[in-house]
Symmetry: D2
Subunit: 403 residues, 4 copies
């Protein structure tokens, strides 16, 4: 008699292979599910492994295109950056993966979903909030939060032993002394030796970007076109998905080393590579400010900060994030045009921009021609803005403004 | 009979020399005032020029140290960035200059102040709001907004002619086809050929930073120490003011090319070099997030955006900017520690950080030890956060979340 | 030879009658325009007066219905309140009036518009920003800001004299010692004896609401239905426009006496009556919180504050206000249901509410049944929320929290 | 052998009496603690009851004055209102009570604290976050979240039986069909028959305020003085604590019936009476806007909203709430002066105000005198504000602004 069916987010690695077997031990039927979001993986090997370990069914799903369309593009529109630096390559992948997991669970009439995320991280939250939001009745099995599981598997050694005992193939190459998460947009590195915030990242850690010191000695110049705040089809045809991938990595763009605040209130150290995302952020910022009204942009900037917090915290599928995405998309209607930029040794330089919809008025702003502008108006503008300041000064009495 | 005394912000250049003479023509006694905020200038030559043109008195004031202490440090505390990119090297210099101008006006019992800023820019506002805020009774003479002046001097040729006629020394080297503003923190370039937002900046425009392509092939590694969000004395002794100056320029750090929104509602194109400021921003961001509570930082981030708007718009001396500065300074009490970073070919890389006051808890966040943390708590945390999302989903009825 | 055609916002009163004649003196053809937005006015008398004073054409436009549909309803959706108290009955009328004025100007090929608003107030700004936003080439004649006009008419006596001289009928009843502005939503009172912020408003000032002391001794109970955040048709049929008018005035609802901050930076004292608007605000707040997701509401609340500032300052027609209105309207999609309330002696009491779209779940929240809720989850929720607080306390060392 | 010592927040009622005995059953030594924050209670009877039930020690603490000083005044400064309506009389009492509870626990070397709050409410969070924030090592026993407890006591009947069995005095008067929480600032009512959001509150529910229909037929006029945003000593002497109590209740002020969003994501219906707090909020709002700079107020308003969310959610003792309180207090330095108001049948009317520190300038704002103001400046002010709007209109092409 089965205790029910579980859809397990399966990576093919040691942890989730042990979880697969352990779930079976607990009396569940296990369906494995592996999403292809552009990470470097032998998907067929993972399929075989899952089947050999007794998965009732195996799903390998290519989500790359919906990851780009539904998750990366809206983040570009939002200039999404968490705590001023992190481009959230992992955070936006989680709802994409979990959305499909829930679809499979519904399709397969599974009451349970499971994953191998740890109990201290953000990813457990991002996975599970998505599951609950899209499938409120689902039950979630998170082994790393179940005492019987985590007390049994206190370290890698315990997993290895269990693996050997249950015929789970054991990795032969030694594991890097940190953990990683990769997709077509970025790679993140954390924990292990990186937990000491003072110690520098080893040079061989980075897999997605070249060391800027070894990057080409000649800049790469490109032009990206936007339409409604999205990368335009023309640009995607010109730089197919590679926008998000290797060419920028070749230049060593998009490496950061930060300490960030997790949703659960811990500070953690993370190292990220987001080559294409960094280029897109800079390009989008440029075309957005070029075309969008100043005050609309100010409001939209606040919504973008909100969006980033929500996504980082796992609320991609929430009424408020839906609302914010809708508002941001509305703000992008005229964000259209071309940005020229150069990429060199880890840095992106904006060179110029043009747009059929810009509010930039060369004549109006010119120092050489007057345009439809009367400089005398500025006197009144300044004096009225000063009304309040002058009253304030008078009330205070004159005082030396130096601190 | 004099019409009164004017304190003129004098640069020694053609424009303000003509204004000096023109003001005398209008019957004013003119006191010239030239602030040294680190720009490359022959101050003694300027003094002699002003005297020879009939200035009643000449003030040359070295404000470099108060510019750093009172304006740059608070901006570093605020992570001050306008429209996500501009570090406001010009915007924070204006209140510094105008503050002293007003002090001189009070000291010399001058009822008037004057400046050579144009009628379309931000600087006129920054100068004048500071003047009104600190000297509410002052009268401001802004020749470039007075029809008799600007109709007489419609271009550089008119100024040259007037100069020749009035014995004003005329510059012999041809002027760059753009305008510039420099201080110890940055140089800005705008107008002229830069007014076409599509045209790339010429390579020889940049004066403060080296072309990253010609920058050293070996990174520079440094460590900056902060105390209360300021650069600590120890670091200032180690890298004396050079923090803000050439060494980082040597690496080509801090170049940006943007279109920004002026306070008066125009979009304008500006190119900026802020080598040291860029390094400090990145270092401060790192140590701030490392030491400051997550939610305090979130509130402080909003105040920093507000601060940037206020400063950009000329409201450094305003009740609200005083208030915001006070709040931000309060938030910095524990922002203390050392940041290690490397600088290479235009880019800044954070390498590590340490602090006696960090909320970072290596044991708590560790994936290898449990610390004072029960993973089971996360289940409750997630489920309670999902209460609202599940209700929402149920009310909507199940619907495909794909757009 | 005419200097051009002016569309003058004409009230029929002494001021704008003098302006009409004065504009003709200056060589303009004058078209008068009087909007009916529900104020108590003899529109036909005004028409005759304008004609007799030489208006080239007279427009009397009934804008009541578009005032309600296009301006009041969106303000109700936004819970629009300026500085926590003022419901902006005047502020939302101005763009309604000016929009039609500009339409007439375009239709009549008039290059000029004019109005009788003073040079210290908000209304000049609200009128003119609307005009510029919808007709960028328009020229505005604001006599109270033209020295030749305001120096000639330094007080009411000067206007009376001019009127007599030019055959302008002079009011026979003495003017109230304050100024007023009325429409179907509200009446405002300011200036004159009200300029002393300490002096109490005289009891006979109020024209729209009864003194609560004289209001009925029995509460009025009503039920208002909303749909998409608007008052539903059913309710409008039940309480036709009177929702916004007398019945609530009968109960003395909606009187406030405040000092507010004008856009131009002065503080001014205003007294307002907004009987129906006050009822609608309370009812809408209730149904909104009942139906809208908590976090959506939080974001929407911020947008509502922004909306109020924009509208108060005259930016109804601006890209940012369009954007904010769009976002707010989006948030209202599920704001649907009925609110029961009672009105008594100046106060509104919410009694109950119901909705087919509420996220309120009686079973879930019940103290008597458990619903789909596990109380144990709250422990984890609290403990995770405390992670950060405990770290903070430990870093600080124990200290007495008493100030 | 004891399992340790628990400090139990004890009310003297049936629930916490059962908890007391149950905790002893579980092997704990129980210290009871009852805070006097102005609720109507027989404290001596509660002491005897606790002693008779085996409390090891009994603390009855009079916190009324610190409740006012440390919690009510800062909330008045903040204009603290949750979701636009709730004045948070319960939310601010919780950290006051828990702070002392933790002090007692430390003093008595108790490792445990306990309370009788339910598992669905906000109060459990407010209590516990305070405890964790001030005593990070404390262990919390929340019986209503412990399955052995809540499964044993599924309703009032179970508690009654248990009480009878263990010699706990059983209340003789029938309980109201809702729950209540009272202190000197307010009473809240929720659950029971109030859980149906449509049903009206029974007239006899209200204990703190008179039915406005029965309130005096003559208004009460009073004057409240503020200093630094606090109620000034002079006013407290004049209206001793009664400010917060009965006289305003006599007029039926401060009744609201709302549906609010709990921190845990449920919507719940609450009815509140806050007579004095409502008067103080209106008075403080008036004097604050009268004295504070417009833009400071705008920023402070945002901080006040944040403060309200934090306090409602239980984060009174958190780094961010400390920070926000500090900033708000700073904003109040000039909030000084007297407000005259009248109270009548449930409503508060502001009549006038005066202050030695107001930015209100009667001459400046006067419609009759010009003051230090040039109306021509307003033209420039408006035209510069319109620059952006005109550009926008031109880019869009002319379009009918009607929706």
């Amino acid at each position: 008699m089965s205790n029910g069916t579980v859809v397990l987010a399966y990576s093919g690695g040691l942890d989730t292979s042990c979880i697969l077997v352990w779930l079976k031990e607990q009396g569940y039927d296990v369906i494995t599910y592996l999403a292809n979001i552009g990470q470097d993986e032998d998907f067929e090997a993972a399929r075989k492994k899952a089947e050999s370990l007794g998965a009732k069914k195996v799903f390998i799903e290519d989500l790359r295109s919906e990851f780009v369309e539904d998750f990366i593009w809206p983040s570009v529109q939002a200039n999404a950056v968490y705590e001023d630096r992190y481009l959230m390559g992992t955070a936006i992948a989680r709802p994409c993966i979990a959305r499909r997991q829930v679809e499979i669970a519904r399709m397969e009439s599974a009451q349970f979903v499971s994953h191998g995320a740890t109990g201290k991280g953000n990813d457990q939250i991002r996975f599970e909030l998505t599951c609950y939001a899209l499938y409120p009745e689902v039950k979630i099995i998170a082994p790393w939060r179940i005492p019987e599981f985590y007390n049994r598997f206190r370290g890698r050694t315990d997993l290895m032993e269990y693996a050997k005992k249950h015929g789970i193939p054991v990795p032969v190459t030694p594991r890097a002394p940190w953990s990683m998460d990769a997709n077509l947009m970025h790679i993140s590195y954390e924990s292990g030796i990186l937990e000491n915030p003072k110690s520098h990242a080893p040079a061989d850690l980075y897999l997605m970007t070249k060391n800027p010191e070894d990057a080409p000695n000649v800049p790469d110049v490109l032009e990206i076109e936007f339409r409604k705040g999205f990368v335009a089809k023309a640009s995607i045809q010109k730089y197919p998905l590679s926008l998000l991938l290797s060419p920028r990595g070749k230049h060593g763009v998009g490496r950061i080393d930060i300490v960030e605040n997790r949703f659960i209130g811990m500070k953690s150290r993370g190292i990220y590579e987001t080559p294409g995302g960094t280029v897109l952020l800079k390009a989008h910022l440029d075309i957005e400010t070029f075309t969008m009204d100043k005050e609309v942009r100010r409001i939209k900037q606040g919504l973008g900060v909100k969006f980033s917090e929500l996504v980082y915290n796992g609320f991609w599928y929430s009424p408020e994030c839906d609302f914010v995405r809708h508002c941001i998309a509305k703000s992008q209607e005229n964000v259209e045009g071309k940005v020229q930029l150069s990429i060199f040794k880890g840095q992106v330089y904006i060179l110029g921009r043009e747009s059929p919809k810009s509010l930039y008025n060369e004549e109006l702003v010119s120092m050489d021609v007057q345009g439809d502008y009367d400089p005398c108006d500025a006197s009144g503008f300044i004096r009225i803005n000063a009304v309040r300041l002058r009253e304030h000064c008078r009330l205070q009495g004159f005082s030396d403004p130096k601190p």
